[in-house]
Symmetry: C2
Subunit: 242 residues, 2 copies
């Protein structure tokens, strides 16, 4: 039996999938494509773009401001949908950039519709994943709106760690992280300079250290308390539909 894909792992935490469902899901994995790090896979305002399922590597969704500032909306890891919005709407409302070299399966609107009609359970699973994505954006909103820089950083790293663990990357001690401090700044609504200072504070408090592309957790509990982190919105104890 082959190793389950990150997407399968994630959806299975939500819905118990039959062999037929799994086969249909695997059928979405034709049309593999590769992108180099830094490539802009989707442009804000682009029409008739396709969507992707991320198989390997990291990407991020962002919007640009007239003055050049950018806000990263979402950091995407293996198993995530990417640009689902742009096949439901006529134009894409955000851009997507490959953070690392990327391997992803291209997805057309027709693929989705066909898969849904063949495996309705899969439809609820995908709707569920979309709803979870929205919950993450909401949590991100609260993060930026109502928390200090230190809390934002702590919350961001905790959430990322939890998400990676769910798709079988990294463990409870930490994870490899290809994001630069500039990415963190754009994601958290901070300046890169301040990100640097905040990371130093967290390191000196022995909460977490982020150096040389690796995040290592120090005191998980104290950090979760600091950030007000509760991973209920990410995970279910057991599948809802059996």
């Amino acid at each position: 039996m082959p190793k389950p894909s990150p997407l399968t792992l994630k959806l299975s935490a939500f819905v118990a999938l039959s062999d037929a469902d799994l086969a249909t899901l695997a059928g979405l994995d034709r049309r593999r494509r590769q992108f180099r790090a830094g490539h802009e896979m989707l442009h804000e305002g682009q029409t008739n773009a396709s969507a992707f399922i991320l198989a390997r590597g990291w990407s991020c969704a962002f919007k640009l401001q007239p003055n050049g500032d950018r806000q990263i909306v979402n950091v995407q890891i293996p198993g995530d949908f990417l640009g689902l919005h742009s096949i439901l709407f006529r134009t894409s409302d955000h851009s997507v950039e490959a953070v690392t070299p990327i391997e992803a399966s291209e997805l057309l609107a027709s693929d989705i519709l066909e898969a849904f009609s063949r495996a309705p359970r899969l439809a609820s699973a995908v709707l569920w994943a979309a709803s979870r994505d929205e919950a993450m954006v909401v949590e991100h909103l609260v993060n930026i709106g109502r928390r200090t820089a230190e809390q934002r950083m702590a919350h961001f790293l905790l959430e990322l760690g939890a998400r990676l663990k769910l798709v079988g990357i990294g463990d409870s001690t930490g994870f490899d992280c290809p994001l630069t401090q500039y990415h963190l700044a754009d994601a958290l609504g901070l300046s890169a300079v301040h990100v640097n200072r905040v990371l130093r504070q967290l390191r000196e408090a022995d909460l977490v250290r982020f150096q040389h592309g690796r995040v290592v957790f120090g005191d998980f509990g104290r950090m979760a308390a600091l950030a007000g982190f509760d991973m209920a919105y990410l995970d279910q104890d057991h599948p809802l539909l059996r």
Copy 2:
């Protein structure tokens, strides 16, 4: 022919609905319920909650912080779904409060599933509405992460005005708005005191005035430029599916 409901108006801007679709949609409007202003219709962490379609009045979705701060995630107006998340997940990830007296139709998970199987077009319309809601949250995120207080306020009022116009409330000169300055503060990640100052600045610049429960636009174009407002994410020129 009866006046179309706000939800029908909104969905019709997206998808051309057949008479059968419209009938199914109308069938979701049984179980009318009423709530008084200030009532908390949904609690964060609540299990097995129902969802609602808002027919009359305003509500808002929010999350509370341990220290008592709250972040309003979404202001809901007639035609909006309310708590759709809580029937897809086991527990609700946010609370919802009635801002004004409210009239809404209660919605069970079974209602949705049944309606979808009877009118698949309706399913895509609802998925579409959900995707639009997410786009609004994303825009809200950008608002708080990367704009000044003055820009946030301008953007917020412009978006609200545009949304209300789409469901047939208010016009291009302005709209009645039951939100207090405290609501605005909680929505925009500002303090109530600062909201007051910002409203004064906007008023003195003849951009917009918000007094006595009414928002009156002064210079729409200059305001949109200030806020970086582009309503592409709210509206389609014409229905996508015919």
